[in-house]
């Protein structure tokens, strides 16, 4: 086993061991603090290994592979488990471990008021999540990727439902699971088709064009679910019921980006199907715009960020659809930093104000300057202000899609960039500037070091990550040269313009929504997509289930009952034949004997 493999295994298995240990020792887990310490320690180890791995990969392009047979059937190996180290997995591993570590450290402070048992449970879930995500990242084939994919799904379910006593959280957790599970059927079918076509679960195989389209479309269905693309985006905003650090880690930085990661990984398959790529491009662009519009009218700070995540994932998907894999992946990486930063900063604010509503905040910048600065940096990065990481990656995305489909997606994404800057500006101005609008906001104060430290670390990366685009691209085997062209200038201008517009509308304590926003809000509140699913669940699925159950109970089982009824009834009808008068039986014997004798004689 070579060194990179060992490092990757260490990064993956350490959290697994931690999770296993904590699961097996409830007495330790329920004490809270030791569990948290152990988990963070495990993540530190993971992160260290991941960083060492990433450093060792700099300047290399080859792959390291280590597999063991996982499933054997008809005397041959049909699936393997193992580690696949290359630029993609090394960088992703580092990003995941870093964000996870930051979030866990942040959680030390954020979740401190939870009862010890819940505190321990929370960190156990986190260890499990890190393991699952790393399994996904280092997967050498699509099957293992799917295994990790589903495992992160279940940790997401557990973490969204962390406050399981809240009916809304319980609802959101199952909704998230159902929607993603529905989409995962696509991946399952894709895996089946892929195996039948090629005999492997590898992503780098040559397929018939029709098969390639089918497989990639099915894979993309899974991506739509996991990465919350329209029309399966409905679970992500609800998922904000989970603790804020969870939203930062799973529902912004890493897990939802797994869909994008899958496409990056399976790029050799997607390349073979232009149809799928076109669909991705269109759907990505639509999602980006749609989610940005919905983000405009949200008043819950986490919901704004959630829709913004949808929107940014739309960017990535569009970039991948346009064939610009590097752009998609790079945006994933930078987005992971600044969106995690935004969520954690929002979490810090929520922690101080005890409310998610931006209307209840206000003026926080003065009370908690570090949090405010962190949030502002994140917002600027997200808005694509030049010099910050988001600018570089967004520019790369826009560059990628520019000439596709007669510039339509390009224009959509530019408009989205403007909207993004606008709604982020709105949140910053409403929540962090102006007068405080609630008692809590007046008395808000900075959190402890454990919450500040991750903010600083992420803020630094949100600023500087963009400048590492070139080594990042090299890691990936692609050339990258930044040039500040017209496109970049336009994007930057739109971003600044959006912020400026937000200032004119919301700056200085202004709160009223202008008329345009009210209209958008009305559309958002109709929740058309959600209601469609609700209808499908309650009126179709549950009604069908009731019908089936009735049919089973009263028709299928009824027939069995009827058979029993018939038998008993027949017995009851036949009963009078038994008179209980002994001579009658003798007569019957005689008649029978004589008949038999007669038959024997006369035969």
């Amino acid at each position: 086993m070579s060194r990179p493999i060992t490092l990757a295994l260490v990064a993956t298995l350490t959290p697994a061991l931690v999770a296993l240990f904590l699961a097996a020792t409830p007495f330790i887990r329920r004490r809270g603090a030791p569990a948290a310490a152990l988990t963070v320690l495990g993540s530190v180890v993971s992160f260290g290994a991941a960083v060492m791995l990433l450093l060792s990969r700099l300047g290399q392009t080859g792959t390291e592979l280590f597999t063991v047979p996982w499933i054997r059937s008809s005397a041959r190996v049909i699936a393997e488990a193992g580690v696949h180290v290359d630029g993609v997995s090394a960088s992703m591993l580092a990003v995941v471990c870093f964000v996870a570590l930051c979030v866990q450290v942040f959680s030390l402070g954020y979740m401190h008021d939870e009862p010890p048992a819940d505190f321990g449970r929370y960190f156990t879930y986190h260890a499990l999540f890190l393991f699952s995500m790393n399994v996904l990242v280092i997967a050498p084939n699509l099957l293992q990727l799917f295994v990790g994919w589903e495992l992160v799904g279940v940790t997401s379910y557990l973490l969204i439902g962390f406050y399981y006593k809240k009916p809304s959280a319980a609802h959101a957790a199952v909704k998230a699971f159902w929607v993603t599970k529905f989409a995962d059927m696509g991946i399952l079918f894709a895996l089946l088709s892929l195996f039948v076509a090629t005999g492997t679960f590898a992503w780098n195989v040559k397929l018939e064009p029709a098969v390639a389209t089918a497989v990639t479309m099915l894979l993309f269905l899974g991506v739509v679910g996991k990465s919350a693309q329209f029309p399966l985006h409905v679970w992500l905003p609800d998922a904000m019921e989970g603790p804020t650090p969870v939203s930062a880690l799973l529902h912004a930085a890493t897990m939802v980006a797994a869909g994008v990661f899958l496409v990056v990984r399976a790029d050799p398959l997607f390349v073979q199907s232009p149809t799928t790529r076109t669909v991705m491009l269109v759907l990505g662009a639509v999602t980006a715009l749609f989610a940005a519009l919905l983000a405009l009218v949200q008043t819950d700070i986490k919901k704004v960020l959630a829709y913004s995540t949808c929107s940014q994932l739309g960017y990535m998907v569009a970039a991948l659809g346009a064939g610009s894999v590097l752009a998609g992946f790079f945006h994933l990486t930078t987005h992971a930093f600044f969106k995690a930063l935004l969520f954690l900063a929002a979490g810090s604010a929520i922690h101080a104000v005890h409310s998610n509503e931006i209307g209840k905040m206000g003026g926080l910048f003065k009370k908690m300057p570090l949090t405010g600065a962190a949030f502002a940096i994140g917002a600027l990065a997200l808005a694509g202000v030049p010099g910050l990481s988001g600018f570089f990656s967004k520019d790369l995305v826009l560059e990628g899609v520019e000439h596709k489909l007669h510039h339509v997606p390009y224009v959509i994404l530019l408009a989205t960039a403007f909207l993004t800057a606008f709604y982020m500006g709105k949140v910053v101005f409403v929540a962090f500037f102006g007068p405080p609008s609630s008692e809590q906001a007046k008395h808000a104060h900075e959190p402890g070091w454990s919450m500040k430290l991750p903010l600083v670390a992420l803020a630094v990366l949100a600023v500087v990550a963009g400048y590492f685009a070139a080594p990042f691209a090299r890691l990936y085997g692609e050339p990258y040269h930044f040039h500040f062209g017209v496109g970049a200038a336009v994007a930057a201008a739109l971003g600044l313009g959006g912020i400026a517009l937000a200032w004119t509308m919301f700056g200085g304590g202004k709160r009223e929504n202008p008329q345009v926003m009210v209209t958008v809000e009305r559309i958002a509140q109709s929740r058309a997509v959600n209601r469609l699913y609700e209808f499908g669940y309650r009126r179709v699925t549950l009604a069908m289930a009731d019908a089936f159950a009735w049919f089973d109970r009263y028709v299928i089982d009824g027939m069995i009952n009827w058979l029993g009824y018939f038998t008993i009834d027949a017995g009851r009808r036949a009963r009078p034949m038994q008179t209980g008068f002994a001579p009658d039986y003798v007569l019957a014997v005689v008649v029978g004997a004589v008949s038999l004798a007669a038959w024997a004689v006369l035969r």
Partner: protein
């Protein structure tokens, strides 16, 4: 005196026994008829033993079987009478239609 004569006599006795079972209402009387029938069956054994002895052994098998049959009859009468007494005790009479627990 031939085998067929003996058999005819035996079947006549048997038929009389059947008649008795079918027409008598007292359980003891039915038992008497059953004895008649058993007797008829024994007669058949003895007759065959006399006219058609088995080729193996001493030719006594028919009689031996009749002896066994006698023993069985004794057992049957013993149990039968016990039942009669039980019925009498339960109903104060020995009419056969009283023992109709089997009736639905």
């Amino acid at each position: 005196m031939t085998l067929s004569h003996c058999l005819l006599l035996a079947s006549a006795l048997f038929a009389v026994g059947v008649y008795g079972i079918l027409t008598r209402r007292q359980i003891v009387a039915v038992l008497l008829s059953i004895e008649l029938m058993a007797n008829a069956a024994n007669l058949v054994f003895v007759s065959f033993s006399r006219f058609r002895p088995s080729m193996s052994g001493s030719g006594a098998q028919g009689q031996i079987f009749a002896l066994f049959s006698l023993a069985l009859t004794v057992a049957e009468v013993a149990v039968g009478l016990a039942i009669v007494i039980l019925v009498y005790r339960a109903h104060g009479d020995t009419r056969i239609d009283l023992a109709s627990e089997m009736k639905s």
